[in-house]
């Protein structure tokens, strides 16, 4: 016969944590296991397993020549977007909007949040219109009337990689902007005052005071945004469908196309597995960014 307190503890655990654990196990752990299992089968469009095989892994390590291109592209895409927009431009926006007056700063931050606040389908629709290859595309109209361009540009075929970097970057920059802005706000104001009195100019203040204080947020954004760029393909799928041909098919989109367009679920699962491993590794790396002491702080009531 267990004591009432013992029972109450069990019941509380089930009531409070039960649903969360159930959902998590069912939608995180089980899919990973399914993914591993499926990657060793020939599961295809028929959704039927006929035999077990390791040929997908053989393909990954040598058999798939397109995969090398895809990985090179992924590298350029992630690094380019990260370096140009998510970190650098996000930082620039945060620095500038916090150094002008509050209302204007908030307004410009609001403008840059607009892409993040818009549904993806709509956001990309705007891009499709802006870069429309006919003379009706907004960009072409401006280039042709204001800058006297003769022929309309077709960026979707001539510069698709630049296009996916910019369209993702416009969204990515806002995350860094928000995080950096709140970090800059958290720097004690008298440090800026002290630096000014000590003779530092605006740039020197950024270099000696602001940037050192942003060390953690910057590395946090770098790691997390790199991961999110690596695994997301929504905007690319909507904008270029990975094309022309495979020119803008990054790794994550390649998985998607293999699985859902070519119906090679087994191969898609094998490809996914690598991304899942990277994802878990980065997530583990993420521990470093959190204040574990605060997170794990012990509850102060012992009654159950």
């Amino acid at each position: 016969m267990k004591s009432r307190a013992w029972w109450r503890q069990r019941v509380n655990f089930v009531i409070f944590l039960g649903p969360a654990i159930l959902l998590t196990v069912f939608f995180f752990v089980v899919p990973v296991l399914i993914d591993i299992a499926v990657s060793f089968t020939d599961l295809g469009r028929s959704l039927r397993v006929t035999r077990f095989t390791t040929e997908h892994y053989e393909r990954v390590f040598g058999g798939d020549r397109r995969l090398t291109d895809v990985m090179a592209l992924t590298f350029i895409y992630v690094l380019g977007t990260l370096a140009l927009f998510n970190v650098t431009f996000g930082l620039v926006l945060a620095l500038i909007t916090t150094s002008i007056d509050k209302v204007s700063g908030g307004f410009f931050r609001g403008v840059w949040l607009l892409p993040r606040m818009s549904p993806s389908v709509l956001y990309i629709l705007l891009w499709v219109w802006v870069v429309n290859p006919s003379q009706y595309g907004l960009l072409n109209q401006i280039l042709m009337t204001v800058f006297g361009l003769e022929q309309p540009l077709d960026l979707l075929t001539t510069a698709p990689i630049a296009l996916i970097i910019i369209s993702n970057g416009f969204i990515g920059a806002s995350m860094g902007m928000i995080i950096f802005t709140s970090a800059i706000r958290g720097i004690p104001e008298h440090l800026f005052h002290a630096a000014r009195v000590d003779g530092a100019g605006s740039l020197a203040i950024v270099w000696y005071i602001t940037l050192p204080a942003l060390r953690w947020p910057i590395s946090f954004i770098t790691i997390y945004q790199a991961l999110s760029l690596l695994v997301s393909f929504e905007y690319i799928l909507l904008l270029t469908k990975g094309g022309p041909f495979y020119d803008t098919t990054v790794y994550a989109l390649y998985i998607y196309r293999r699985a859902f367009q070519s119906g090679q679920y087994g191969y898609g699962a094998a490809l996914s597995l690598f991304l899942i491993v990277i994802g878990i590794a980065v997530a583990l790396l993420g521990w470093r960014f959190f204040d574990m002491k605060r997170l794990l702080q012990n509850p102060r009531i012992e009654v159950q």
Partner: protein, 357 residues
């Protein structure tokens, strides 16, 4: 060194006028304290001197030159903030070196000067430490060194001692004062602590509501406070205030009569607890409470004119609660204020009530 002049300086934050028009002159090499309760505009004035805030109107002059718009970094002032504002990611050495980076001081000379400044405030041993590894007092010294290393013409101290414990405060008070005398730099101290102001500064400027209430030496403020506000603000325990009406050569407070000269109308008598003593004659009362304060004892005496605080030297109480006493004071030490405008009435005096003879 520099002389400083505020000419009708105004400061507004949005629609709020914090300083309606400040006039003040500070001489070369003077040590001045801006004293007042929080929100009286003393820190705002200091920040305008530093170039952190820009005046909304009026003229701010250094050595007779208009500096209203000159940037903080060109003013050559040193400042110590209440929180010290040490750069958290730099060690002590780099903190002190920081101002010299922007003065294009040759590397060799800069290093020598950092060392000298650190020695000056006794933190020569701590150059490799981070601010977070220093005690409050050490941080304060480093902040001083950083303010002094560029040889400023003006040194600004914004409540520099308020974050230190009582003993350390005493040491730093003396040290800063002697340092200022040694360097001769024009120094302005902002504080809400009257003891800090009166012990350190040559001249104390008492501020209230963005304006100057009184300027004077510490003695002036204590012995001849210009207003009820200053009398109440300076001195601890606070001054006893007794309201009455002056007519026919005496101040009447209820049935009690204080003989006086040279005044008429509603007045307030100010009596400092330390100027009161128990005697055979004077204001009658009964001791209500006894508060030992170490070297002194504070008696709260219940009298016909209300509670009166009396401070006596000595560590053991010479009187006990409930005892009937008489309180005496010297007419030269009693203060008289006009109740209506709260200003000191010069040339008037008041005596303790006497037993009818």
């Amino acid at each position: 060194m520099a002389s400083i002049e505020f000419r009708n300086v105004i400061k507004r934050f949005g629609d709020v006028e914090v300083i309606p028009g400040l006039n003040l002159t500070i001489e070369h090499g003077e040590f001045v304290a801006l004293l007042g309760p929080s929100g009286c505009g003393k820190s705002t004035s200091l920040f305008m001197l530093a170039g952190i805030y820009l005046p909304s109107g009026g003229e701010l002059l250094f050595d007779g030159h208009l500096v209203n718009e000159v940037e903080a970094r060109d003013r050559n002032v040193g400042i110590v903030f209440q929180s010290y504002a040490l750069y958290p990611h730099m060690n002590v050495h780099d903190n002190i070196l920081f101002p010299l980076r922007f003065k294009k001081t040759p590397r060799e000379e800069a290093l020598v000067r950092v060392k000298a400044a650190a020695e000056l405030v006794h933190v020569g041993e701590l150059l490799d430490r981070r601010p977070s590894e220093l005690s409050g007092g050490q941080q304060q010294r480093v902040a001083l060194a950083r303010a002094l290393v560029k040889e400023p013409q003006i040194l600004l101290l914004d409540e520099p001692l308020s974050n230190l414990d009582a003993t350390l405060r005493l040491t730093m008070r003396t040290e800063i004062k002697s340092l200022q005398k040694k360097l001769g730099v024009t120094t302005i101290l902002v504080t809400h602590d009257q003891i800090e102001a009166t012990t350190m500064a040559d001249r104390v400027i008492c501020m209230r509501g963005g304006g100057i209430e009184q300027v004077g030496t510490p003695d002036d403020l204590y012995l001849r406070p210009a207003s009820l506000f200053i009398a109440g603000f300076i001195g601890s325990p606070p001054v006893n205030l007794i309201r009455g009406t002056a007519e026919n050569g005496a101040v009447h407070v209820g049935a009690t009569v204080f003989p006086s000269e040279g005044i008429r109308g509603d007045v307030t008598i100010g009596l400092r607890p330390e100027h009161l003593k128990f005697a055979g004659d004077g204001l009658r009362g009964r001791i209500a409470e006894i508060e030992p304060m170490g070297r002194e004892i504070l008696y709260v005496v219940d009298t016909d004119v209300g509670h009166v605080r009396v401070l006596e030297h000595g560590s053991a109480a010479a009187h006990s609660a409930g005892e009937a006493v008489h309180i005496d004071f010297s007419p030269t030490e009693a203060l008289l204020f006009r109740t209506s405008n709260e200003k000191l009435i010069a040339g008037a005096n008041v005596c303790p009530p006497r037993r009818a003879s």
